[in-house]
């Protein structure tokens, strides 16, 4: 009986020992993705969430993240939190993430969330007077120009619209010299669209020698575009540059079709090169040219798109930035030599190390090539020009 009892006790102890060591080996590092998962921009969040999950799976398949002590930690993507594209909710979400063990947040989707959100972060590191959050954010979608400079804790891996539209207008000037004039169509009440026309497209068109004839404005919720289309008709531009999201872009294009307004060329907003536009107005978007920092043009890009599709997401310039972010973070964590420990002081120390590593990063590996990092913590990413063809976005030209 004693022998049996001893054997059972030994087996029990062995089991405990094994499970104990298994627990000890299961070190983790957490990243926290967030953005929009409700309302009209829900698809953005779903795609980013899928891309982050898929990329984290790949990181873990390859062994996880190497910690300072040489051990490996599993990367965990926390539940994707919804900020509803609302600044206050975005701030609440990040404060919640800050209270968790996550080392970094990946998001947000909307520029009108990113701008105030960066504002609650500490402006300059080591500024003892500044009580802002000391927490790194690596943005994947919010694309409005020049936001990352707000805080030294904010980083973005979004394409530079200034570079892309400059290149697009230059290419058009070279290949289509007969086009002389540009007219704008802008969703005036949406931060990204507004900035894209007034700061980027208009300026870049002018800089490339185009005569900008003016602009028509509408609002994000507008449904009637008859007046704007008549204005476009009156201006009779060679190129119509639309800085608007899919719903109103499609509304405008359909009204143009009704009124028989056909500019020689239509340029669209980066965010419009998505599945949404092709669901809502594939026929009308035929031929529209958009610069995009993603297209499945090589093995890596195709692989990322396939893995994201397995997680029920679709690959576009935004979701693939989320994918890239996971690998950027893995590399930065390893370079920073984070401890992976879970006490509050270690978590904060790891966050700081990660921030510093991100700030020191000069280039990252992107899906279309090398992404350069700028001094103000923005990305300079490779891009292609896509156009609507047969109900999908097809690469028209690769300028790089």
């Amino acid at each position: 009986m004693n022998k049996i009892a001893l054997a059972v006790a030994a087996a029990f102890a062995t089991t405990l020992g094994f499970s104990g060591s298994a627990v000890a080996q299961e070190k983790t590092v957490t990243i926290a993705p967030f953005g929009v998962k409700t309302g009209v921009l829900r698809l953005f969040g779903l795609n980013s969430e899928a891309a982050v999950k898929a990329a984290v799976e790949e990181v873990n398949k390859a062994g996880g993240v190497k910690l300072a002590d040489g051990s490996k930690a599993k990367m965990i993507a926390a539940d994707y939190l919804d900020d509803r594209c609302n600044a206050e909710e975005g701030i609440a979400v990040v404060r919640r993430i800050y209270g968790s063990e996550a080392l970094v947040a990946v998001g947000p989707t909307c520029s009108n969330v990113a701008e105030p959100l960066y504002g609650i972060l500490q402006k300059k590191v080591d500024d003892a007077k500044d009580t802002g959050l000391q927490f790194p954010l690596l943005t994947d979608v919010a694309i409005k120009v020049g936001l990352a400079k707000i805080s030294e804790w904010s980083f973005r891996n979004v394409p530079s619209e200034l570079t892309m539209y400059s290149s697009l207008y230059y290419w058009l000037k070279t290949t289509r010299p007969e086009l002389k004039t540009v007219y704008g169509g802008v969703e005036e009440d949406f931060a990204h669209s507004r900035a894209s026309w007034h700061v980027v497209m208009k300026d870049r068109a002018n800089a490339n020698g185009y005569q900008v004839l003016g602009e028509s404005k509408w609002l994000l919720n507008d449904t009637n575009f008859s007046t704007q289309v008549r204005e476009i008709k009156k201006a009779n531009p060679d190129i119509l540059s639309i800085a608007a999201h899919p719903f109103t872009t499609c509304g405008l294009l359909k009204e143009m079709q009704r009124q028989g307004v056909k500019p020689k060329l239509i340029v669209g907003l980066t965010s419009t090169s998505s599945l949404e536009t092709m669901q809502a107005c594939p026929k009308q978007a035929e031929g529209m040219i958009i610069p995009s920092s993603f297209a499945p043009i090589n093995k890596e890009a195709k692989f990322a798109a396939e893995q994201t599709a397995k997680q029920k997401g679709s690959a576009d310039l935004h979701s693939m930035a989320s994918w890239e972010n996971v690998f950027i973070l893995k590399e930065a964590m390893e370079r920073a030599g984070i401890s992976g420990r879970k006490d509050a002081a270690s978590i904060q120390s790891d966050r700081r190390k990660l921030r510093d590593a991100l700030a020191a990063t000069k280039t990252t590996k992107g899906l279309l090539g090398v992404n350069k990092r700028t001094e103000d913590r923005e990305a300079d990413k490779p891009y292609v020009f896509v156009h609507g063809k047969g109900g999908s976005w097809v690469v028209l030209h690769n300028p790089l």
């Binding site: 409700t38 609002l219 509304g251």
Partner: protein
């Protein structure tokens, strides 16, 4: 001047979509003295269900989608009645109002989840028809919406004044207790009112999505606001008032946009609403007070 006339004409025609929604709001208010805030959202919901049902049955024509939307609207109308007005005590004014606000948000989110928030291509009618007269042009599909609005009004007036159901509805609207004492089933009349407005909402939602060219939850908020404005300006409970007010709001909206730009447009529409509330609170077609 010509541009201004064309802009106003475009607005008037587009105002027919506001009229269609306003009719639904006003009918429920006329019968039950309640505001159904979920009406516009349910109408877009019905339009979406119509689109889905048509794709299930592989019927791609716009008319098939409209037919399915019409039926879906009736079902949704009854559902809204059941949840927001039948299960919640009618005596509690705020509870029914808030429940319809809740239903508006719920419907919005359900459409958002079903469509992943992406706008859906909606089949168009009379897409390429443009009626031109004296240099002015009018969209054929909006003329259709206008005709449907007028036809719906005529049908509703016939129903209200030429049928036993209409008599019962008017009795319930004027004196619910007396109507009950006369043997009229008040709950049944109320439910039928919701089904009828729901059927109308289904066709309204489908026509609006067709006129806009796509279905999106971005439509529900503005349509709810415009529907309410139209109902107040037209006169709470007045079906012809809703039509006239819809056209008026649509026309003035474009006139304001023409002179002051898109960013100030809605401000003036709201000022118009306040002007009516202050100087003519009963709306264009102010009704005389009933016995109660």
């Amino acid at each position: 001047m010509f541009d201004f006339l064309q802009a106003v004409l475009d607005g008037i025609l587009f105002g027919t979509t506001y009229s269609l929604i306003g009719i639904g709001f006003t009918l429920v208010f006329g019968v039950m003295h309640k505001i159904n805030m979920a009406y516009a959202a349910a109408s877009i919901g019905a339009a979406y269900l119509g689109l889905v049902t048509a794709s299930v049955f592989k019927a791609s024509s716009a008319w098939a989608v409209f037919g399915y939307s019409f039926v879906s609207g009736g079902v949704l109308g009854y559902f809204v009645y059941l949840i927001c007005f039948h299960l919640i005590p009618l005596k509690n004014e705020n509870a029914t109002l808030m429940s319809t606000v809740g239903m508006l948000l719920l419907t919005d989110e359900l459409i958002s989840h079903a469509t992943t928030g992406a706008p859906q291509n909606y089949p168009a009618t009379l897409e390429d028809v443009m009626v031109r007269a004296g240099g002015l042009s009018v969209r054929g599909d909006l003329i259709l919406v206008f005709c449907v609005s007028v036809a719906c009004t005529a049908a509703l007036l016939l129903l209200l004044y030429r049928t036993r159901l209409g008599l019962a509805t008017r009795a319930v609207a004027q004196q619910p207790i007396a109507a009950q004492l006369c043997g009229i089933r008040v709950a049944q009349v109320n439910a039928l009112t919701f089904v009828i407005t729901g059927l109308l909402g289904g066709i309204a939602g489908a026509l609006i999505c067709s006129a806009v060219g796509s279905l999106s939850i971005l439509l529900t908020g503005p349509l709810t606001v415009k529907g309410l404005i139209v109902t107040v300006i037209g006169g709470l409970g007045s079906v012809p008032g809703a039509i006239v007010a819809g056209l008026l709001v649509g026309g003035l909206e474009n006139a304001f946009q023409h002179f002051r730009g898109v960013t100030e447009r809605d401000m003036y529409v709201m000022l118009l609403l306040f002007a009516f509330l202050i100087f003519r609170p009963g709306g264009i077609f102010a009704k005389g007070r009933g016995r109660d």
